[in-house]
Symmetry: C2
Subunit: 224 residues, 2 copies
DNA sequence: GTCAAGATTTTTGTATACAAGAGCCATGGT
DNA sequence: ACCATGGCTCTTGTATACAAAAATCTTGAC
């Protein structure tokens, strides 16, 4: 589909980052990547430039690109902003959703229910993404949808960690239910608040997040 | 300061876009830009890649880069999101501001007052930016500050147009006053709402915006 | 044995070369 | 006179070449 190689490369590398294949802090060697993807360094560099503009990698002059490794504080802030944007999307969705939006939202919600019943967190993780995307779409704000999608994508690895916390999947699904109801009934404030607290990392969840982050770091051998 | 040329190039080109030197819809010829900046095409391309990732230019395969020309609807949506994020920054600032934050905010506010009195919209435009940045800083959320700054920057040309509307400067400054008071008194909801409505393009302002946009397009000769 | 300074190697940053697609112009046919 | 087709040119996309800086290794001194 994409005529240009650097689009594919960007997506591939980005994917490698959000799936954890390239770990935070890891150095991304241009020559190595070039060999791996069977291209020259030029398109690789162009892809890395794009990722650096998005904030997924950091390019230090003459020292190459590394996968950014945000401090827990920063990750928390990202969730905080995400919560606000999702709340906004929910509020807009409550006002603007069409028949198709409702259908898509309910369908996604059902898929989530199945995932919960099957107790497969990976499956829930996947269906959850579709659920949230359905809300972005229902907001009927193209720009907001874009912003949400980008940030959602960037937070992927951390969300995956969050789901590991005991009972998080069930609690998440219950919250989904309330959100669906608020949106479908046109309750803008309910939808906003529901999504805000659903996404935000509040109370115990912050501790869980930090714990997961440092676990991961310890595993990857960069910390005592 | 910046070792690498493509950082400077990116900033220069971005600046050219937000100041209107490169007009929306304009094609950015790599060779031309390379000559103009006295470099080869390679770093130019890398700069354009970054701008494309940010959303300032669009790169169509084999057809080069053009300055994005968002539809009025899209610009409206951008202001809508900006309003929400600024509201959030205001709410956080109301809770978290330090002594220095207060001082910076008040200083920026005073500068705005001087600009209003001098009736120089360009000067107000400049001081206004500093005022808003002071709020981002006071939010003490690095990520939010980053997001706000980026979006604020992207909306620059449109804000400039908005200030041309009769009395907008005075009204804007009055709103600033209320925002300052809310933040300093720790009134989170007041700060949020004050900033939201200050930034949002509501009511008549939407019409003004659209009118300004189509004026500009007509002037640049791309519309009847 | 350890540390430091110099040399070597690796890797990034930029320029240039080349291939291929898009756009444009001209020529010819209807 | 107008449209279509073919070739020419211009521009982009990718590879490669080369320079300079960083990282690494080696050697020598203490």
């Amino acid at each position: 589909m994409s005529e240009n190689i650097f689009y594919k490369l960007r997506d591939d590398i980005e994917n490698g980052i959000v799936t954890g294949e390239f770990e935070p802090g890891e150095r991304l060697d241009e020559t190595q990547l070039a060999m791996r993807f069977g291209v020259s360094r030029t398109p690789i560099r162009e892809a890395l430039m794009q990722l650096s503009a998005i904030g997924l990698v950091e390019i230090r002059p003459r020292r190459g690109a590394v996968v950014v490794d945000p401090a827990p504080q920063r990750v928390y802030e990202m969730f905080e902003v995400m919560a606000e944007l999702e709340g906004m999307a929910g509020a807009l969705a409550a006002r603007r959703h069409t028949e198709e939006d409702s259908a898509a939202l309910l369908a996604a919600h059902e898929k989530c229910r199945e995932a919960v019943l099957s107790e497969e967190t990976d499956r829930y993780y996947y269906e959850n993404e579709i659920f949230h995307r359905a809300i972005y779409t229902a907001s009927h704000s193209g720009f907001l949808e874009e912003q949400c999608t980008t940030l959602h994508r960037r937070l992927r690895p951390y969300r995956r960690l969050q789901l590991r916390v005991r009972n998080r999947m069930k609690v998440s699904f219950r919250e989904h239910g309330e959100i669906v109801e608020a949106i479908l009934s046109g309750n803008t404030d309910g939808a906003r608040e529901g999504l805000r607290s659903h996404v935000a990392v509040q109370g115990d969840r912050f501790g869980d997040l930090v714990a997961n982050l440092s676990n991961r770091e310890r595993r990857s051998g960069r910390l005592g």
